[in-house]
């Protein structure tokens, strides 16, 4: 069963005659539990695609369907709520909230939703990611790899439909990168978690179950 589907997805920036087609008729489908890598050179449109999938930006044409939500039809407020329930984000620069400690960062999306975090699940996740001893640390006391693990934990915590990872290893050295990718892979398998990861590194892309190549805003096969 496909958890994410785009049909004729198009995104344009600017106005005539200077239209830039960031995405042009993209049709992709991702299955539940898949670990997919989206690869492409810089400027190919992969970040735009990720923003579309995560409901951060609205398409100019076509549709995005995630977990039976038609994103184009949601209001801004509903989109935010959709995001915190169905999407987990992992950013290249971790994007942790500096005034919150590790634990608070992890449970923030859940608490913003007014729900109680599933403590056993959180424990499981933090144990898997090796964060048990760092729960009360502030983000600025952690290394890059540790911070990225926190953001993975944050993405996992609300058991989202999909995790969207934008160059998750972009700021990390190769050894740490490998560790993080492995963790992503393990979590994908262990929690049957759908993960869509953007990268421009073919080595990292190889670790994924499937690779989608984007070139000039189109899916290349």
């Amino acid at each position: 069963m496909s958890i994410l589907q785009t049909t004729h997805l198009t995104k344009q920036y600017g106005k005539e005659p200077n239209i830039v087609k960031a995405l042009d008729d993209v049709n992709i489908s991702i299955e539940q539990g898949e670990f997919v890598a989206v690869v492409g050179t810089s400027g190919s449109g992969k970040s735009t695609l990720l923003n579309m999938l995560g409901g951060l930006d609205r398409p100019s044409g076509g549709s995005v369907k995630v977990d039976n939500y038609e994103l184009g039809k949601l209001s801004d407020e509903d989109l935010t709520i959709f995001r915190r329930r169905c999407i987990g984000f992992i950013f290249q620069n971790y994007n942790l909230v500096p005034v919150l400690n590790v634990y608070e960062n992890i449970v923030m999306p859940i608490q913003l939703d007014g729900k109680k975090p599933d403590e056993t699940f959180i424990q499981e996740v933090t144990a898997l990611l090796g964060l048990e001893k760092k729960l009360y640390n502030m983000p600025n006391t952690l290394s890059g790899g540790q911070q990225q693990r926190v953001s993975i934990a944050r993405a996992l915590a609300s058991k989202p439909a999909i995790i969207l990872a934008d160059e998750p290893t972009g700021n990390l050295d190769s050894k740490t990168s490998e560790e993080v990718i492995n963790l992503l892979k393990v979590t994908s398998q262990q929690f049957h978690q759908t993960i869509v990861m953007i990268t421009h590194n073919p080595e990292i892309a190889k670790q994924a179950d499937r690779c989608i190549q984007i070139e000039d805003g189109r899916v290349a096969n």
Partner: protein, 824 residues
């Protein structure tokens, strides 16, 4: 290149420029206002004293010869001089009450004396005269050149033709009647000096130097150079050190204000630049990597400061000057003189320089920060100072909105503290000034000056008493609510041993010496004092009082010793002794309480010693050495039935206040020109005028400080939100709704307001409850505990704290999350 960078970076930061330019504008405006006020105050006070002394000349002499005048006039230090030749004083009946001096004066002398004709000219021929409008009005001469004017003086009546006039001014001690030199010379038979004890033919001279500093020394030099020893020049009162010092003292609060403005301006401008530099730190890091030197980076920042000054300072100068000219009349309650707002270039130069210095000082630290940044550090730099932050936070409460807001508040500790301090300072100062003003007790102040709606004191009637007809007229008003009578008589008495001992104990050598140093009447006082102590009989004043004046004179505030019992006093066996007005000491220089005193043929026991009450004693006693006693008015009348009251006090119903006033003034005009009328209302008005200046100044300063606090608050809130644009986008992307974000920001504003208010209430309570209470002790004040301004500001602050984040948030919303996420 540096210039291009400065320009570009200037254009990039539009919002910051607005805030900074506004801050510079406000700073300049306040500086200009204060400079305008100090200058104008100085100028007006000097002017006031100049008029009092009657001349603008730096130094003047009242006795000199023509030869000496010529000699001094030729001295290089003397910039200008005026010469006058006195004829005499006009004695026309219609001029009673206003001195008119008939003199010849050179043009310069007339100008220096505020008496140069504005219409017509100075007299040239023997029959010409120039006068001021006040005198012409009194003489009944129409304002028209060529009119005939006759003046009576010691040489008989002289008739002149009016050749010029100017606007008369009552603040100058006397009016001038300018006549020609020929007229005076003829009158004194060309004598070169006046006859002994005469003023006819007296030569006077006023000289002016290049500036009014060290006039005494300059005069000395001139006289020494000319070899003149028998002429004494007086330095103009307005330019003496004492007056100049008093001007400085009047201006002290203004100088304090300048310091505060400097600090306040510094806070804002520094904040603006600090934030701007911090957010552009990567940019400066890149510049450094590319080889820009520290000096050049600093230049970029100072360059931006200069540009902002160029916009802010001129606007500030203009508005500040206008504001100053509005304030001048409020600060100087004197209404008789036409007030001028000084347009001295010092105002503009000074304010501009001060404002510019503030800008430079404010840019100093940010420039250093930008200058010393290392390229690598710059990439990691965030506005918050990371190093002082806690490493771990033990909590499992998770991410609550208010918790996050609290955390955000302390990301830049220094700034937050600064905002809190300036807001609190403003509020506390405002409370202080308000409480202090509110403590001034008009009633207490008036009590010392008047005890009733009206007080009349007739000094023209025979025996200086109030006529029965007037008393009957007042009673006929029908609305008199309370009255008070005051009689007085002079009684011959010999002091008791007890009283003499009290006097000896009170007037120690030290006190006597002190007394002698300031009171010119001391020798005659001392003579009687010694005589009395030797057992001599002396004349003392005995007052007979009842009603309003007795109540006031024997009120608790005025009792120095003993206690007052109205009923017992009325029996006629007791009297009150009036003691000193100064602070009570162990012994009082009068009778002791309980002592017996013989007045007329009755013996009175001293019930209490009271402070002299002005409405009772002023203008009554003529004795140099006096130990006044007070007895009931009825008893007084028994002793001296022929006496009428010296003073009469009465309260009338409010609706007939005007009628009573009309009755009194009519009587004054028609029957008793010398009758003195004191109305509580006019006293209250005078009081208002006297205290207004202080109040206005106090409020102005506290409003400025509070304004600075608010500006700082707005600035730090806005920049905190703008600089966290991206962070908000992140939180939004992982699921914080707009509502929640908005709430969080409002929490932050709320914390600011809350903490400010808590601090203000605590400090305000301490300030008002302790400091103000201590300060208003005694004097004309009654302490009231009030934090009214604080209560008023509470609402304003809370609204601001909630509205501001909301407005910022709306602004933020215009950019999409993706845009903000990308923005680096």
């Amino acid at each position: 290149m540096i210039r291009t960078l400065t320009n570009r970076s200037f254009q990039k930061n539009k919002d910051r420029n607005l805030v900074a330019a506004l801050a510079i504008f406000l700073t300049t405006m306040m500086f200009t206002t204060l400079f305008t006020l100090t200058q104008s105050m100085g100028q007006n006070i000097t002017e006031m004293y100049l008029r009092q002394s009657g001349t603008m000349a730096h130094a003047s002499t009242k006795q000199i010869t023509d030869a000496q005048i010529e000699q001094i006039a030729a001295h290089p230090d003397v910039v200008s001089f005026g010469k006058s030749l006195v004829a005499g004083i006009a004695e026309n009946e219609r001029l009673a009450g206003r001195q008119l001096e008939i003199r010849y004066g050179s043009d310069q002398y007339a100008k220096d004396s505020f008496a140069y004709p504005t219409t017509g000219k100075m007299p040239e021929t023997k029959d010409e005269i120039a006068l001021d409008t006040l005198i012409l009005e009194r003489l009944g001469v129409p304002l028209e050149l060529g009119q005939t004017v006759t003046l009576e003086w010691q040489e008989g009546p002289s008739t002149f033709t009016l050749c010029g006039w100017w606007e008369g001014n009552l603040s100058v001690y006397a009016s001038m009647a300018w006549v020609s030199e020929a007229f005076v010379l003829e009158a004194c038979d060309n004598a070169s000096a006046p006859k002994e004890g005469q003023i006819l033919g007296l030569r006077m001279m006023g000289i002016t130097f290049s500036d009014h500093k060290n006039i005494d020394e300059k005069v000395e030099t001139v006289l020494r150079d000319c070899g003149i020893t028998d002429v004494e020049f007086n330095t103009n009162l307005a330019y003496t050190a004492e007056i100049q010092y008093s001007i400085f003292r009047e201006n002290l609060p203004m100088y304090g204000g300048m310091l505060i403005v400097f600090l306040a301006g510094y806070f804002i401008i520094y904040n603006v630049f600090q934030i701007s530099v911090a957010s552009d730190i990567q940019f400066y890091g890149k510049l450094k990597t590319l080889g820009t030197t520290t000096k050049q980076i600093k230049k970029i920042i100072y360059g931006q400061g200069n540009r902002l000054s160029l916009i802010g300072i001129p606007i500030g100068l203009v508005t500040g000057y206008l504001l100053g000219s509005v304030f001048v009349p409020l600060l100087i309650p004197n209404t008789e003189m036409e007030l001028t707002t000084s347009a001295n270039p010092i105002i503009f130069i000074g304010a501009a320089v001060f404002a510019y210095i503030t800008v430079l000082v404010s840019c100093m630290l940010p420039a250093r920060l930008a200058g010393k940044v290392s390229p690598i550090e710059a990439l990691r730099y965030t506005d918050a100072s990371d190093n002082v932050r806690k490493k771990r936070k033990k909590t499992e409460n998770g991410a609550s909105l208010y918790g996050m807001a609290w955390g955000n508040l302390w990301r830049n500790r220094k700034r937050t503290v600064m905002v809190l301090c300036s807001l609190t300072l403003g509020l506390v100062l405002m409370s202080y000034f308000y409480a202090k003003n509110a403590s001034f007790d008009v009633e207490k102040y008036l009590m010392d000056l008047t005890v009733a709606d009206y007080e009349i004191h007739d000094t023209t009637e025979k025996g200086q008493a109030i006529s029965d007809t007037l008393l009957a007229d007042i009673a006929a008003l029908g609305t008199v609510e309370a009255t008070g009578r005051l009689y007085s008589a002079e009684v011959e008495l010999t002091l008791s041993e007890q009283a003499k001992n009290n006097l000896r104990a009170f007037y120690t050598d030290e006190r006597l010496k002190d007394f002698a140093s300031y009171d010119p009447s001391f020798p005659s006082w001392k003579e009687q004092f010694d005589y009395v102590l030797d057992g001599g009989e002396n004349t003392y004043t005995v007052y007979g009082v009842d009603g309003l004046i007795l109540e006031a004179a024997a009120s608790d505030n005025y009792i120095l010793n003993g206690s007052f019992d109205t009923e017992k006093f009325a029996e006629g066996m007791y009297c009150l002794a009036i003691g000193p007005s100064t602070d009570p000491s162990d012994t009082l220089p009068t009778y002791s309480v309980g002592e017996k005193v013989q007045i007329a043929d009755r013996e009175f026991e001293v019930m209490a010693v009271v402070r002299p009450l002005q409405p009772m004693v002023s203008g009554v006693s003529q004795q140099v050495f006096d130990l006044p006693l007070v007895i009931p008015a009825d008893i007084f009348q028994e002793f001296w039935p022929e006496c009428n009251p010296r003073k009469f006090y009465f309260d009338v119903a409010d609706e007939t206040m005007e009628d009573a006033y009309r009755l009194l003034t009519e009587y004054q005009q028609t029957k008793a020109l010398g009758m003195n009328i004191v109305s509580r209302q006019s006293m209250a008005e005078q009081y208002e005028a006297e205290t207004r200046a202080l109040a206005v100044m106090g409020y102005a300063i506290s409003i400025v400080i509070a304004l600075v606090g608010v500006l700082n608050f707005i600035n730090s809130m806005v920049t905190a939100i703008i600089s966290r644009k991206r962070e908000f986008a992140i939180i939004q992307s992982i699921g914080m709704t707009k509502r929640q974000l908005c709430q969080m920001l409002m929490f932050e504003g709320g914390y600011y307001a809350g903490m400010t208010l808590i601090a203000s209430y605590i400090l305000g309570t301490v300030t008002v409850g302790v400091i103000v209470r201590a300060m208003v002790e005694g004097g004309f004040s009654t302490f009231h505990f009030t934090l009214l301004p604080l209560v008023c500001c509470t609402l304003v602050l809370v609204i601001l704290a909630v509205m501001l984040p909301y407005v910022c948030f709306r602004n933020l919303e215009k950019q999409s999350i993706v845009e903000r996420l990308r923005a680096e």
